[in-house]
């Protein structure tokens, strides 16, 4: 029996290593215009961005589909399929002028009718995040073939942000109008307007995109092809990057502890820009309904007992900075004029004493549980660090392991005391932050809603007011107040603003040019002249 056990372990290990061998077909080629190999992990379930916005789907499909706009690192809108746009004084009417010469990959011209179909019909049915934005529209109409007008029921501050690629990817009306979107046969053969089109998808091996010769951007794209090898093993991904078989990794493709090592290699650059649109804050969510988390003093004590700098350094290997509140510095309307929680064990213990939670013979004041996020080792270590740090002030933490299905189920049904999370903020608090705090979004069974059960009418009103503000000044005033209230009542502990690392081959330039970084079209990306 001893032998069998050992052998099983060896087998498991060997399978992990072998799974990472790269298909020979996807080596870099030095052809004219050049190609680029980019890690795709995990393999996208589909490339039809309209129905699936998983991370790796966006990275690949972002080259095939476009929206009307894209955004620079400071969220200034830049032309995409729209060449110019204007907003009326009262913030109720938006008019877009579209590019004249864009065609779908099947040759059909792209027109205003496609925009109307996408925003009025398609997205409203299948895309929850887009529904929040386009649900504000009274009418969406095509004024002519290349002009679209959106009329809103009430001003909606982040409206333009809705024209980011993954929020409002333009869908070809001539292929989808009047069909069942989810079963449309065209879902397997993506037809977009982007600079690259699907050439070959060898499932489990690689996805190959080739240059779209009819692309509307003059002289673009520069690269001849993009290849996305599917590399499920973390070790294999690091080796592929190290040996130059792939030229780019993004998000958490590379394990964080490997990033500093790879970044030092002469042929790789570490780029942390290009994630402004996502800008997650790693945080601990408390279930504000259950004792002792229903007591603000306990939540504050936990906040004081966590050394944020240590989390940034030891868990995220320096790829992140301590967070001060619910909104990331990279998202719009951040304010640093808030209550902050410097690492202070005396203060934490004083708060616990005040609550009457005194240490027993073993120094334990109370025992709480932590539902461990099942997304890999970083989050396992995160949980261990929370356990270790709270142990210092006498809060014993029992870590509860979970798998993705059970985590989502327990989180959505409020069956937890503490858990960690790092949701994207989508550039604007109205899109990515309000959903976790407004009481109208306390919806049992829905993950990523207000699962902490936090409820404050004043916060509800401020989020409402700021979302529908017209000028940035009035929006900022409301958001500053919201951040002050939230950091005072701490329904969560915000720990680290996570920097995703892009590792990119130094020979390429103009690759990371927008707030959506690696999910961008790559219409400008090229090999540097040698």
């Amino acid at each position: 029996m001893t032998r069998l056990t050992r052998r099983s372990v060896l087998k498991a290990t060997a399978a992990g290593v072998l799974a990472g061998i790269l298909p020979a077909a996807v080596r870099a080629q030095g052809a004219d215009g050049g190609s680029m190999n980019i890690i795709a992990f995990p393999e996208p379930p589909t490339l039809f961005i309209g129905l699936d916005q998983n991370g790796s789907t966006q990275t690949v499909a972002g080259k095939i589909y476009e929206s009307l706009l894209t955004f620079d690192f400071d969220f200034n809108p830049q032309p995409g399929l729209a060449t110019s746009w204007e907003m009326s004084e009262d913030g109720l009417v938006y008019t877009f002028n579209l590019v004249q010469n864009a065609t779908w990959h099947d040759g059909t011209p792209f027109t205003a009718h496609d925009v109307v179909f996408t925003c009025r019909d398609f997205l409203m049915e299948v895309h929850p995040r887009a529904r929040v934005i386009f649900g504000n529209c009274e009418t969406i109409e095509a004024l002519d073939d290349h002009t679209v007008r959106f009329t809103l029921k009430q001003p909606f501050g982040p409206f333009l942000m809705g024209f980011e690629m993954s929020t409002a990817p333009m869908i070809p009306a001539h292929l989808y109008e009047g069909t069942d979107y989810r079963t449309n046969p065209n879902n397997d053969t993506p037809v977009g307007t982007g600079p690259f089109k699907l050439a070959e998808w060898s499932r489990g091996q690689f996805i190959r995109l080739e240059r779209n010769p009819d692309y509307h951007g003059e002289g673009q794209p520069h690269l001849e092809e993009l290849v996305f090898p599917i590399l499920p093993d973390a070790g294999a991904r690091a080796v592929a990057l190290e040996q130059g078989q792939v030229q780019q990794s993004q998000f958490f493709d590379i394990e964080l502890f490997d990033v500093p090592r790879l970044a030092e290699l002469p042929h790789l650059d570490l780029i942390s820009r290009g994630y402004e649109f996502y800008a997650p804050v790693a945080r601990i969510e408390f279930n504000n309904r259950v004792a002792p988390f229903d007591d603000v003093r306990f939540r504050k004590a936990v906040n004081y007992a966590l050394d944020r700098q240590l989390f940034a350094d030891a868990i995220f290997f320096g790829l992140g900075v301590p967070a001060t509140g619910p909104i990331s510095k990279r998202t719009r309307f951040y304010s640093d004029d808030v209550t902050t929680y410097d690492y202070n064990l005396e203060q934490a213990e004083a708060l616990l004493d005040e609550m009457g939670l005194t240490p027993d013979g073993d120094g334990v004041r109370t025992t709480v549980s932590f539902l461990r996020l099942p997304w890999g080792e970083t989050w396992a270590r995160f949980a261990e660090m929370v356990q270790q740090q709270l142990g210092q002030i006498g809060i014993r933490v029992e870590i509860e392991p979970s798998d993705p299905a059970s985590w989502t189920q327990r989180y959505a049904n409020w069956d937890f005391q503490m858990t960690s999370n790092y949701p994207y903020q989508f550039g604007d608090p109205a899109l990515g932050v309000a959903r976790f705090f407004i009481s109208s979004n306390i919806r049992q069974g829905v993950a990523y809603s207000n699962c902490t059960g936090y409820s404050n009418p004043q916060v509800d009103a401020l989020f409402e007011k700021s979302a529908h503000g017209v000028t940035d000044e009035e929006r900022q005033a409301a958001y500053t107040e919201v951040q002050q209230i939230l950091t005072d009542e701490v329904p969560m502990a915000w720990l680290v603003e996570v920097d995703f690392p892009t590792l990119l081959d130094t020979r390429y330039e103009d690759v990371i040019v927008s707030a959506i970084g690696t999910n961008e079209t790559y219409r400008k990306a090229k090999l540097a002249a040698e």
């Binding site: 050992r6 498991a12 080792e377 210092q392």
Partner: protein, 280 residues
């Protein structure tokens, strides 16, 4: 001195095995005195290589925890799981084996078919599955290992009991009117114990390995780390920090080796043929 014990004490295999086990057990028991600091707490900077800081001879892990202290504390989890699951498995195995061997007939058939049912399932996969279903904790790991490791004991005990069943001393006891239960417990079982003890020491070793493998694959109890858990958690940083997985691995190797040596020595000591040679 009991001749078996005397033979055992002269066997170098037994001495080596016993010494290593003694050290491991003592450090598990006295860890809080040797390392008063909480083994979960960050002791110094993370990724400290071994043999650099005399205070942290074996270096620190990615959260700055002392690996030496960790090895001592985590010996508890590994040893407890090994011992507890083996004791439980041996008890189940003896009960089932003794009933099957003593009564024979349809009882034997039923019990042995059940045993074979468990034997046909690949043990490690079965254990892994059970831990996943019961949700990872020390208890569920012990239960899982116990359930996959009792069948060999049952078969061994059954064959021993079946061969003793018709010996004269058993018949004599029957004639004297002793109950079945008393005959099994007082007459037969004491005579089957020596191979079971030898087997049990090997089972402890295999239980420790199984637990390490379960923890390595990420299904260990996150609140009671074991050596296997340490290896599993450090596996991915092996290129930056070999020592985090090397030392726990070395300790597992030594303890399992010690148990195997002891098991073999026990086997030799109980073996009557070797025993005669020893007396000559």
């Amino acid at each position: 001195m009991n001749p078996t014990l005397r033979r055992l004490s002269r066997d170098p295999k037994a001495l080596i095995g016993f010494t290593i086990l003694l050290v491991a057990t003592l450090s598990a028991i006295f860890a809080p005195m040797l390392f008063p600091r909480d083994p979960w707490a960050m002791a110094t900077r993370p990724f400290l290589p071994p043999f650099e800081d005399p205070e942290f001879w074996l270096g620190t892990d990615m959260l700055g925890r002392d690996i030496f202290a960790g090895l001592a504390y985590r010996a508890r989890m590994s040893l407890i799981v090994g011992l507890a699951s083996t004791v439980a498995a041996v008890v189940i195995g003896i009960v089932i084996g003794a009933l099957a061997g003593y009564f024979g007939g349809w009882i034997d058939d039923v019990l042995m078919r059940v045993t074979e049912f468990f034997q046909t399932i690949p043990t490690f996969v079965f254990a892994l599955l059970m831990v996943a279903i019961l949700s990872p904790s020390m208890l569920s790991i012990i239960i899982a290992i116990c359930i996959v490791s009792w069948p060999p004991v049952a078969r061994l005990v059954r064959s021993e009991v079946a061969s003793l069943r018709n010996r004269d001393f058993v018949r004599a006891a029957t004639v004297l009117g002793e109950s079945h239960g008393r005959i099994i417990v007082a007459q037969i079982l004491p005579n089957t114990l020596s191979p079971v003890i030898a087997m049990a020491s090997l089972m402890v070793a295999s239980a420790i390995l199984t637990e390490a493998a379960i923890s390595f694959l990420g299904l260990g109890d996150p609140n009671r780390m074991s050596w296997g858990y340490m290896i599993g958690a450090s596996r991915t940083v092996i290129r930056q920090a070999w020592w985090m997985s090397f030392f726990p691995g070395l300790v597992i190797l030594l303890v399992v080796l010690a148990l195997n040596l002891l098991g073999e020595a026990l086997n030799d000591a109980f073996n009557p043929r070797l025993a005669r040679r020893g007396r000559r």
